[in-house]
């Protein structure tokens, strides 16, 4: 792993919602092709970290470099064009758009994206229901659609915020398989996940967040040895 090039590097990231200071110097690194998971209890700043990297949260300081580009001083709509796709916790499927319109909405940012046919092969349900209203899909299908629409764009990296939240075990397993497929295709993934078992099957590395800072980072190989302390920190 360590011979891979760094793709995303975040250093000393601070972020605020209005006056409340949420992130207090987050450092993290994701290398090309890696799947990295941020663990942490509710309210520790995981979503805020993703939103700050993306540039959705504008009140932030520190350094964010992606693929050799400085992301700090760009408007929000330039982040996707730099090659990052964001799949939010609430999924963000549009009710006034059909499934297919939802899928086709994000603009293509590079030639490396999947074709619509490939996407429908990976997500047969979406093909079947392509003319339904986006929000008529089940929770699991909405999550798949939220991921699928970023795959078409050709982004190099996905930020996934709790993709398995509230979903049935079979669907969680299906999402795991899809992430494995993406990984094999070389996709870089930064995942936020509460489902520890799910994350341990697909991740190369982990970070633990606590009150707006990253407190530890370790390889998947070190996971068994750390189980006890992690259970304590995460309260699971």
């Amino acid at each position: 792993m360590t011979d891979r090039q760094s793709l995303l590097s975040v250093r000393g990231l601070n972020a605020w919602y209005d006056e409340s200071h949420i992130l207090h110097g987050v450092d993290l690194e994701v290398r090309e092709g890696e799947t990295v998971t941020i663990l942490g209890r509710n309210g520790m700043g995981k979503t805020t970290t993703l939103r700050s990297i993306m540039g959705i949260l504008r009140k932030r300081t520190g350094a964010i470099d992606f693929d050799g580009k400085d992301l700090m001083n760009r408007p929000l709509h330039h982040t996707a064009r730099a090659g990052i796709g964001f799949v939010p916790e609430e999924r963000g499927i549009f009710a006034t758009l059909s499934v297919e319109e939802n899928l086709m909405l994000p603009p293509i940012v590079s030639k490396n994206g999947m074709s619509v046919d490939e996407i429908y092969e990976l997500f047969p349900n979406l093909k079947e229901r392509r003319s339904s209203q986006g929000t008529k899909l089940s929770g699991g299908e909405q999550q798949m659609l939220a991921m699928a629409r970023m795959l078409r764009t050709g982004v190099k990296m996905l930020l996934l915020d709790e993709p398995t939240e509230g979903l049935a075990p079979v669907i969680v397993q299906r999402i795991g398989e899809i992430l494995q497929t993406l990984k094999q295709r070389g996709m870089t993934i930064l995942l936020v996940e509460q489902n520890f078992r799910f994350a341990s099957k697909i991740s190369d590395r982990f970070y633990v967040m606590d009150h707006g800072v990253v407190t530890e980072g370790f390889d998947v190989a070190e996971l068994p040895a750390r189980m006890d302390t992690l259970h304590e920190v995460l309260g699971v």
């Binding site: 929000l76 709509h77 964001f86 006034t96 994000p106 603009p107």
Partner: protein
């Protein structure tokens, strides 16, 4: 004489036609207002002034450089649309993070300034705008006399409304607009330049108002205050239809125009207030509007 509900059929159909024509303008104007509100969350009180500007620009183009009605149908909306773009880019944009009330107050003030400016320069009396030759005269339908220009207004406004609806419901640009209406931040995070989309939308909305204005010029004359009462009525129509609902704005525009016309036949005293009475009832019974999603 033929009667319908105890009213001579000529009077009935005559008012129906007037209602349909008013409804055509209501529909085009409330459509623009609804698009702007949907995406920008601004209640554009300058809409009536922008409608007036469309008529005035058409009138001035004709008297200064002889640009005829047909060309003015294109040029006037473009010119007024550009003023809309400038207003959004340099003023409205600064208000998005504040309460909706500020957008309303700003555009209300803007309407007063625009209307006052035109009145200062051109006086408040109306200027006639000749009906284009090809649309002058009328046809006798047997049961009534139909001025051709008025028939044209009804047809043209239907085309404009349906065209705009198709643009929003069936095209990629429309998908961007619908999605950005629901969640602008997420749409921008996909790489779409949402601030530019907002500018474009305000430009489009003002251009629609100006188009209605130039179409109205041969019927109502061109005067600085021609839009100031209209905007209040149109605002009521948008409330009845449901804020931000495109189809709701169109259908309600025609419906209430016709209803207003028919009220003139059956109970003329109420014709000026019937739309506001309906607005009050809808607000009490179904605050999201007839076509709006429940709030």
């Amino acid at each position: 004489m033929m009667m319908i509900f105890g009213i001579p059929i000529q009077a009935f159909l005559g008012q129906l036609l007037i209602g349909l024509i008013n409804g055509s303008f209501y529909a085009m104007l409330s459509l623009g207002l609804a698009i702007i509100f949907g995406l920008l969350r601004v209640i554009n009180f300058a809409h009536g002034a922008q409608y007036m500007m469309g008529a005035f620009v058409g009138f001035l183009l004709l008297s200064w450089i002889g640009i005829n009605y047909w060309l003015a149908l294109l040029v006037a909306p473009v010119i007024v649309g550009i003023t809309g773009i400038v207003i959004e880019r340099f003023a409205l944009r600064r208000l998005y993070n504040l309460d909706h009330l500020y957008g309303l107050l700003f555009t209300f003030g803007l309407a007063l300034v625009i209307e006052g400016g035109f009145r200062y320069v051109y006086g408040s009396s109306g200027q006639p705008y000749a009906t284009p030759d090809i649309l002058s005269g009328g046809v006798n339908l047997g049961f009534m006399y139909l001025p051709i220009y008025r028939g044209w207004v009804v047809v043209a406004s239907l085309i404009v409304c349906i065209g705009t609806w198709l643009l929003i419901e069936k095209t990629k640009l429309g998908a961007y607009l619908r999605a950005a209406t629901e969640n602008p931040t997420l749409v921008q995070s996909f790489g779409i330049n949402v601030p530019f989309l907002l500018t474009l939308t305000y430009g489009l909305g003002t251009a629609l108002a100006a188009l209605a204005g130039i179409m109205a010029a041969p019927i109502y004359q061109v005067s600085p205050l021609m839009g100031s009462n209209l905007v209040i009525v149109v605002f009521a129509i948008v409330v009845v239809g449901g804020m931000g609902s495109i189809m709701g704005a169109i259908v309600t525009g025609y419906m209430l125009g016709i209803l207003e016309g028919l009220t003139k036949v059956f109970y003329p005293e109420a014709s000026n207030i019937v739309i506001f009475v309906i607005m009050a009832i809808v607000l009490l019974v179904r605050p999201a509007g007839l076509f709006g999603r429940d709030v």
